[in-house]
């Protein structure tokens, strides 16, 4: 899981500028040091991120095999509830996280995008399993979307076929870390705070032979070949 192609926030945190750093940019060690001297630091941003990262309610939305492992992650042995994320909301209006758990077929893809559009900001997406990442073993299928990230932005990728529930928990923890590191202002502000970025994505239509469009160029462009 750790070597998953996790997309980290857009860029690493900028180094503290000259002078005293802003509250959000202080490391834990610095904070401990300051506390020892009687200085308590706080920021609204941290409270905001703390609340959001500890209260991630996923959309109750299973696609295929991985959905069973997603359920298993909610059961006694793994218990996703420990992270405050056991409230699987059936309505997208109340969900914060969409776990795309399984193969996205072309027939299903417009509906997945529609559900994503129906979710309120800030919202996050986990692509769980090989199929959601790239089509996985079913890549050669004529009705299989080759990765949900062609249509909506994905924050965390969890490889595996299907990933173990522990992997999903790790993905959730990674997502919590990502949320905790998000900025509200500045050039590397979080996606949902930027008015210039879309929160709704075009829903592909059922075409005569394929989806139209088959991919969303605003979200996904094919990277260069690995060893071109």
């Amino acid at each position: 899981m750790s070597d998953a192609p996790q997309s980290t926030p857009a860029s690493p945190r900028p180094a503290p500028a000259e002078g005293f750093p802003a509250a959000g940019n202080i490391s834990d060690a610095d904070r401990e040091e300051l506390r020892r001297h009687g200085i308590l630091l706080t920021s609204l941003e941290e409270l905001y991120n703390w609340g959001r990262s500890n209260s991630i309610w996923p959309l109750q939305f299973g696609l295929a095999c991985c959905a069973i492992e997603m359920i298993a992650a909610a059961t006694a042995r793994f218990d996703i509830a420990r992270f405050g994320a056991e409230i699987f909301r059936p309505s997208p209006r109340q969900a914060d996280l969409m776990i795309v758990s399984g193969t996205v077929t072309k027939k299903m893809a417009p509906l997945v995008v529609r559900l994503w559009n129906q979710m309120p900001e800030p919202k996050y997406c986990i692509a769980m399993g090989a199929c959601a990442i790239s089509g996985g073993p079913f890549k050669q299928g004529y009705n299989v979307l080759k990765g949900i990230d062609r249509l909506i932005p994905v924050d965390i990728y969890i490889p595996g076929c299907p990933p173990r529930p522990e992997a999903l928990l790790n993905g959730l923890i990674q997502l919590q870390k990502q949320i905790k590191g998000e900025k509200l202002t500045g050039p590397d502000a979080a996606r949902h705070t930027r008015a210039d970025l879309p929160s709704e994505y075009p829903i592909p239509a059922y075409g005569a032979h394929d989806l139209e469009p088959a991919k969303n160029p605003a979200v996904w462009t094919p990277p260069a070949p690995p060893s071109a």
Binding site: N143, H192, T221, P222, P225
Partner: protein, 245 residues
């Protein structure tokens, strides 16, 4: 239970107008089948279901098979006597003829009341292009309902008399019949970190294009570029954004 051969004879006697062929299965399983005349297919199926000795009340499996046009090379050997009086020459004449393709629907029948089976029956279309109509056996066995719809969807056999013949698996606007052998699937293998050899092969054309600089490889999925998509909001469920935190 009687053998397929006996059954064929009985059917031939019962339905003199129908052509019932015995299709031998050369494999180990030796599940021989009967190819029924499409025109009388439903009558024969009813007979099979209601005949007290057979009682094939359960149609388990219905599937389509695509047999595309096949080029067959006939080799005709003729012995030409040597005019010089030598040994006669053997001349091979090769001629290629196209065996016209067809679509087939295969039904596996069992009897739940007498607990025997299977009896395999097949129906064959005239060709693969326009004469693709077969009688639906759904009125005889309700279990054919979804399976015949699936065959219609994936193979393009039109079942006359089916009560609700729509596509089952693909969407309604879809034009092709993907399970046919000559189906060309859409080319959407742009970037493939995969071990599938065939997939890598198909992705190569796109990768060459990428190297040529058609796309900018510097963008990742988590950071969508600023270009906002056009007016593509859904018409009916478009939410009104009231506040953005």
């Amino acid at each position: 239970m009687e053998t397929v051969q006996q059954l064929r004879d009985r059917l031939a006697a019962r339905f003199p107008a129908a052509r019932v062929e015995l299709v031998l299965n050369p494999g180990v399983a030796a599940e021989h089948s009967l190819r029924l005349d499409a025109a009388l297919g439903r009558d024969i199926a009813l007979f099979l279901r209601d005949d007290p000795a057979l009682r094939l009340d359960y149609c388990s499996n219905v599937t389509g098979v695509d047999w595309p046009d096949k080029e067959i090379t006939d080799v005709v050997k003729t012995t030409v006597p040597d005019p010089a009086g030598g040994p006669p020459k053997i001349v091979e004449e090769k001629s290629v003829h196209v065996q016209p393709g067809c679509l087939e629907a295969v039904y596996h029948l069992y009897s739940m009341s007498l607990k025997h089976g299977p009896v395999v029956i097949r129906l064959r279309t005239g060709n693969r292009a326009d004469a693709v109509t077969l009688p639906s056996l759904t009125p005889v066995w309700r279990s054919c309902d979804f399976q015949e719809r699936e065959i219609f969807d994936l193979f393009g056999i039109v079942f006359a008399g089916h009560p609700d013949l729509r596509r089952l698996l693909m969407w309604d606007e879809f034009k092709d019949h993907p399970m046919r052998k000559d189906y060309v699937e859409p080319d959407d293998y742009e970037w493939e970190p995969t071990a599938h050899g065939a997939v890598l092969e198909r992705a190569k054309a796109h990768q060459l294009a990428a190297v040529a600089g058609v796309v900018d490889p510097g963008q990742s999925s988590a950071n969508p570029p600023k270009a906002a998509p056009g007016s593509t909001t859904p018409a009916t469920t478009a939410p009104v954004k009231e506040a953005k935190p």
